[in-house]
Amino acid sequence: MALDNETVHIIARLARLNIDDSELEKYGSELSNILNLVEQMEAVDTSGVEPMTHPFDATLRMRADEISEGNQREKFQAIAPSSENGLYLVPKVID
């Protein structure tokens, strides 16, 4: 399978990545090579096979609905790129 530039562009947008026009071809061919590798999967009949999500087929544990972590807002926000009065600052999203 060969991905065209438009598809590469769409995938990049889904992943919130900018790919320069000059690099579209390179990414397209590298991603296509990976997808070609992956295509070997298609040849195998997997009807009736359960997908394996965990080596032990363990299900997620439930825990008691109790507070286990204290408030560490100041500590966590100290490493934020931009915060003020306990809030994370981002560009305006609503006019």
């Binding site: 990545l17 590798l37 997997t46 544990r61 981002v90």
Partner: protein, 494 residues
């Protein structure tokens, strides 16, 4: 020059021949003087504080095998108050606000963390070349030819091989402990999935990621693993199984051990010289009383394709958290929120990480889930079933860890798929969640180390380490030190 093991350091500390402070200072000096670029950051003050603390505890009569022993930590583990980059520009300024469970477990046993080792960005790579912090030099490089240490735990492997630390932690999603261990003449263990907590270990592919030790010997690996493992309620996939001491079975006889050699691990692509060396290692096992038989893992050729769906898919989801809002890098100029996300991520991630995020985003995108992710998980089941079948008649499986030896920097970097082939023998154990090791098994005519890969059934790390240790008792490959290793004062002092 000889290697210095954890076992020896432990005995020396216990006998009062050397203090943790002296040991820590010695290793810090070596790190400072080394030119391998094995470390991203070193916190001398913190290391010496812990060493002093360990010495005080020993003076008070406290004793624990690794109390006061310094080791290196892969820079994928968060340590409270310490820079934790995961090899990425996007986390260049990230000071972790909490400590990974694996690290706090080790600290509870008195282990001293020397510093954080270099790695492929977000553990995505097999040569350490995707690190934002520069290439790492394999201490087995000869003059004039710089070889890669393997990856993604390349800095950890180089650090131990160059004797900048007696042991290090690594993580293994598709071979990232075992492949660099093979390239740098070390013992590397990937435990069963769920043995070591993933809490505080920056996530790459959550259903595969597993931490483990990188050491000179199986005995050291058992000692270090003892301090790393344990159930952790903070990791939803942590295994709640009773604790065990991995050193207790090391000396068991392996007479009558049934070793399976999957024929798929000796096929096309394997360098003939490595095949010969692996055959010689298997013969050694035969002389120790093991029975050898050829077996088959018929679906193992599907491991690489399914891995390159599962790992990127999980990575694309995990790495969506890097958006420039709560921590890490944020771009300088932006017009709106989406622009901020996009520029932050485009500037903060390197090429290999972008490729894998994009493959993952594509595989998970609307209409493709069944064809890719779900299909890959079904193949994962077939691969795991193959192992279940062969373990009915074998105690362990063996083969080469890698199809080739350490290669030159730059030689594989423009072909991602060629680079992926490095992990062709290691990935199946990750997909099945099985414990596996790479141990030192000799050298090619070019003087480069090769690794013997051993895979054991679920939760049989003790058996795995026993099998590795018995080989090391009758061979000396693991004792050979790299030409680029640091000069030795510790041993003389001790």
């Amino acid at each position: 020059m000889t290697i210095i093991t954890l076992a020896q350091l432990s005995a020396d500390l216990d006998a009062g021949k050397v203090s943790s402070t002296e040991l820590t200072q010695e290793y810090l000096q070596r790190i400072d003087a080394s030119e391998h670029n094995a470390f991203i950051s070193v916190d001398q003050e913190l290391a010496l504080t812990r060493a002093k603390d360990a010495d005080a505890k020993r003076a008070n009569g406290e004793s624990s095998p690794l109390l006061g022993v310094p080791i290196a930590q892969k820079d994928i583990f968060c340590i409270d108050g310490t820079q934790t980059t995961c090899g990425s520009k996007i986390l260049e300024n990230f000071i972790a606000p909490y400590t990974a469970t694996v690290v706090s477990n080790m600290h509870d046993h008195g282990v001293v963390s020397l510093g954080k080792t270099n790695m492929d960005e977000f553990a995505m790579g097999s040569s350490n070349e995707t690190s934002h912090y520069g290439n790492v030099v394999n201490p087995w490089s000869s003059k004039g030819a710089t070889l890669v240490p393997g990856g993604s735990s390349g800095g950890s492997a180089a650090a131990v091989s160059a004797q900048l630390a007696p042991a290090a932690t690594g993580t293994d999603t598709g071979g990232s402990i075992r492949q660099p261990a093979a390239f740098c003449n070390l013992t590397g263990i990937k435990p069963s999935y769920g043995r070591c907590s993933r809490y505080g270990m920056i996530a790459f592919a959550s259903s595969l990621d597993q931490a483990g030790p990188m050491t000179h010997t199986a005995e050291d690996a058992a000692m270090l693993l003892n301090t790393m493992v344990g159930f952790d309620s903070k990791d939803s996939t942590s295994l709640d199984v009773p604790a065990e001491d991995y050193t207790t079975q090391l000396n068991d006889s392996i007479e009558g051990l049934n070793i399976g050699l999957p024929k798929e691990f000796f096929g096309e692509g394997l360098k003939p010289e490595i095949a010969t060396l692996i055959e010689r290692a298997v013969k050694e096992y035969e002389s120790l009383g093991a029975n050898i038989k050829e077996v088959s893992l018929p679906n193992s050729h599907l491991a690489l394709p399914s891995y390159y769906v599962i790992a990127p898919a999980e990575a694309s989801s995990n790495l969506s958290r890097f958006d420039g809002v709560r921590y890490g890098y944020r771009t300088e100029e932006y017009t709106d929120l989406v622009d901020m996300y996009t520029k932050t991520r485009s500037e903060g991630f390197g090429d290999e990480v972008k490729r894998r995020i994009m493959i993952g985003a594509y595989a998970l995108s609307s209409g493709y889930y069944d064809a890719y992710y779900s299909k890959a998980q079904k193949l994962r089941r077939l691969i795991a079933n193959d192992f279940n079948d062969v373990f009915k008649e074998c105690d362990v499986l063996m083969g080469p860890t890698t199809p080739s030896t350490a290669f030159s920097a730059g030689s594989n970097s423009d072909d991602p798929v060629a680079m992926y082939l490095n992990d062709i023998y290691t990935i199946p154990a990750n997909l099945a969640g099985l414990p596996a090791a790479s141990i030192q098994a000799g050298f090619t005519s070019a003087g480069l180390p090769i690794g013997l890969h051993i895979i054991a059934p679920y939760l049989q790390e003790s058996k795995l380490l026993n099998v590795a240790h018995q080989y090391q008792k009758v061979t000396d490959w693991h004792t050979l030190s790299a030409p680029g290793a640091s000069a030795h004062n510790v041993g003389e002092k001790a």
